[in-house]
Symmetry: D2
Subunit: 338 residues, 4 copies
């Protein structure tokens, strides 16, 4: 059995979550997110965000969250600006375009958008022959394992507002970003800076589920219709509400992210000490070290992970991901075998 | 606390399912449905269906299942024929149209399509100014609590094939239909008669999840792309695979449906004995009795249920739904209070 | 050669229009509707409508006009209420649904919507499981050759405003409606009563082209983007602008419609005098008389027309259409041959 | 009055076309492209293409042609590969995405796709998390005024076939490409090499209209439904059919393109002789010379043209376009004033 360092969803859920499901199992509840637990979770999250006016909605996965929020926020000819490495750009099977909207993809080597790059997109979309770029999409942590810190988000936020752009954050790995040693952004900053975002549960110890947070009032209108129309309104919404309630009630969400980060740090230090380099700076629970073919073949005997990008005939970037459930012994074993 | 007779998803999941989640929680698995449990569940379902060539895919909800299958099966100008009471016609917030396809809605008082009604639709769609009706959608059990029996399905199936129409069944409550005392259709008949269908888990004791079964080879092509593009490919696909494995391994699925039906029978007999009539014949776990306003107001003090349709100034059809978890004592209490 | 009574677009354009094209042919103009003639035509139309704030846009056909206006006016989960005989419901190959929007089709025997029927639709669309009916679509003249008079339009307009519904009129045959002997509605009433509509050129003597009029400010925003995105922004927009300028400069539009109506009146009187009845009251340039099979077969030897609807084994409704170019002698001949 | 060198659609139509419209004006015809002239034009075009099996359809504009063909050819999760300078990529207001399909944009400095660039796109789209690149879009002539010659098209065609890709050509300026001094591709080569393409009328002397040619049998199925659904089936299809008949009956199409090219050659030589350079090699009726701000400001006093791209603080690429109607005297005057 190979050990999975491929992603942060190789295991089930944190045991507390399963216990909560068991504990509440026979309590009858209303359907479609009108249940007690969704209400409770929404309230806890809003308190944490320090924003009582935000709307919180729960859906089962990240691609679905992105699809629902973006298609609900844009008029037909409005487009999304995203890094070409963005999850919506390359790894959602054209979900955004399927809803009718173009993604203006920006090439940025580290996967992080900048004001200059956004400005360049705006400048070439000048008349009715072009789409109107309307929403800026970032992932934090990014798909390349690095983060936007508070200042970077502030600059983008300010820029978006000055240009009439909506600012949205894909938080599939928000936990890992927030708990990163390099991060000064806080949960309570998010509603100040963003129009909408989602907090990822699936990749941080939930069985499944993401919490969409809508801050901008214009985007709140009939949002449940949008969820329903896209097939995302779960009859037993309680299943996700309860998990978020459990995760945020006493900080479990942050503990799990901290564990994943800690395991990644350990792994990164070990790899670096053996003399290997990284394709992007290690900041979260995803690492992108560079190895030679021979080394990778050997690792593949005992571990599962993605080959991310071939650099040349011999060298390849691989992706190593740790999770809330990663076993420290396995990390030490991995380093030891290098 | 009012007792919920509103729907069959007021409770969590059957305890065996929760135990299975717990038991397998720390076993690492591949993501996106490539895990052991999805494979196992698909195999068990195919054996039960007596069709090794069928493809089985798992998604989180029924609206999503309908949306994914239908949008994946049709060319842009092809339409769906459905009863005007069909779930896709009125209760999915325009999900099918959102994917670009018209629903040709047919008015049938009992919610059951007939060959004659389908033929009428075909006859008025004759040239390139019209859509091309291409797929017949039925729900079994229907949204009105009745069923299509084997002969009815066979006649529709034959008709569809002779007209080049795809034949699809929404099986949100397939368990209840199959276990109905009025039903002679068997699971092993389904692949003979249908091009695609789904087996509903959410409304029959699962935490969440539906199993899409694709029989027609043309519809299998790149189906996982369709799931992903619509936001339905769960990272932890194991969560649904495991539940279906658990439900079909030893017949739990059928036991749960049988319980729901038994409770509905008990309720129907009680209501009938008190002299009330039904809007549609009681055949599954959904009943549509007719009561007067005064009676309904009294029931509403202790029970949750839908007012379905106002018949006149005084009489209203209500919907009562039993589930795998319905407590017999509460049914007896309900009857007693009539 | 059979004489065409099939539709009002069997001939080319009124000669004045062709002369105008010739006269202006070598004058260089800006593209995409920014030319002098589009500007001039828009100004003339706005004066006629007595509304300087309306926006006027030109597109090449009616289905396109409907598609562009409706898809541009609605959010994804919003629907259109229309008669089941409406052009968008049955004769546009699912164009509206293709843009993602459901049409709530209402059965009205004479093809004319009423407040009661609209109200019925609203009442069954109550929550996020349903679409939100948002726009009322009527055709004037209707697809059954009758008209909405001023009072009928006023009642619908008032009703729509009180319910937050947009009110849109397909004016493919607006000329014939306005010039109908039964009509008291005037061009100058339209902007008072409607949110948007289009004035049909193709079916009233233009080579091609429809003039979309947007009254409601909310619907004006970025409308040219919507036209472009749907493929409707003609490089040589001048071709349509010039025609509308020519048609409305000195009343040609109304003269042509009056001729078509006069020919239809002549034909209707002749048919009635021979003892035949009509399926709908003859009010415009489209007639729906009822004939027996033997009679129809004989007519088909010399004339082209549609068989509209089979009433029983022997009787069939046919559709006879006159145009700006219909030859009075042919009408007399047709009557004579009855 | 400034002389328009902005585009090749500043004038009306070649006089022969207007005369043909006049000559045939009162001949009654069937609607929707079933008329005599559409049939005649299709036949002439098929003869010229030396392919009797091709299907020819007429629509009013180029963006519409692209939208209809591409959306009709692809399954929902299939994408288009195009140059980032491609008309569909940047200048059609997101029409392709609006129909649900992603465009994989490839950066190529001269706007011409290569096999290597296509291969790169294919290689990163490997599983169900990605779209499936399915159709290669090129413009010939390109948006940068250069052409694909026969060999380049053959290599791309062969490559597409070997990879299961559809190969489509936007021929908005096919006339100018075919008549280019640098071109060895012939009309009779097209059906051998492409799955579908369109022949541009609007930019080569027609009033409006493009002829879509479908070669691949799979793409022919129900194509008229696709045209209708997108709003492109003109009631008076004769208007476009007649123009193409006129243009291809005796070679007018090629004469007009030859004139435009001749004027562009004259202009290019004049510009070069004055010592200016070009951003792309002049090959068709669109030139992209580089001038300094002061020079451009002076030209703008007497001529209309686009500023294409700012190269640095002082230098800018402008676009100069000649047409079938360009006056040689004006070209000489322009050169003279340099």
């Amino acid at each position: 059995m190979k050990y999975n360092l491929m992603y942060d969803y190789a295991e089930g859920a944190h045991p507390d979550i399963l216990h909560a499901l068991e504990r509440t199992n026979f309590v009858q509840q209303l359907g479609y997110g009108d249940d007690f637990y969704c209400g409770e979770a929404a309230q806890i999250i809003k308190s944490l965000l320090e924003n009582e006016d935000a709307e919180v909605h729960f859906v089962s996965g990240g691609t679905h969250a992105n699809l629902i929020v973006l298609s609900s926020s844009l008029r037909p000819y409005e487009s999304v600006i995203a890094a070409s490495t963005g999850h919506i750009s390359i790894h959602e099977a054209g979900a955004i375009e399927s809803s009718g909207h173009k993604i203006n993809e920006v090439f940025v080597p580290d996967g992080k958008l900048t004001r200059e790059k956004i400005q360049e997109v705006i400048e070439v979309h000048t008349d009715e022959h072009c789409v109107i770029p309307k929403l800026v999409y970032i992932s934090n942590a990014t798909e390349l394992g690095n983060i936007y810190n508070k200042n970077e988000i502030e600059l983008l936020s300010e820029f978006c507002r000055s240009r009439g752009l909506l600012f949205y954050m894909d938080g599939a790995r928000l936990g890992s970003s927030i708990m990163s040693a390099y991060q000064d952004l806080k949960m309570s900053d998010l509603c100040e800076l963003l129009d909408a975002f989602y907090i990822g549960g699936t990749k941080n110890g939930a069985l499944l589920g993401e919490a969409i947070v809508i801050v901008n009032n214009d985007l709140k209108r009939n949002f449940r219709h949008s969820i329903k129309q896209r097939g995302g309104l779960l009859a037993k919404g309680r299943v996700i509400g309860l998990q978020f309630s459990e995760m945020f009630r006493k900080g479990l969400f942050f503990e799990l992210a901290a564990h994943a980060n800690k395991m990644a740090d350990l792994l990164a230090v070990g790899i670096a000490q053996k003399g290997y380099r990284f394709y992007t700076v290690p900041q979260t629970n995803m690492l992108f070290p560079v190895f030679r073919e021979k080394e990778i073949l050997k690792m593949e005997e005992n571990y599962l992970f993605y080959r991310w990008k071939k650099l040349d005939a011999d060298e390849t970037v691989i992706r190593l991901v740790t999770s809330w459930a990663t076993d420290e012994k396995m990390i030490l074993k991995f380093i030891n075998e290098l």
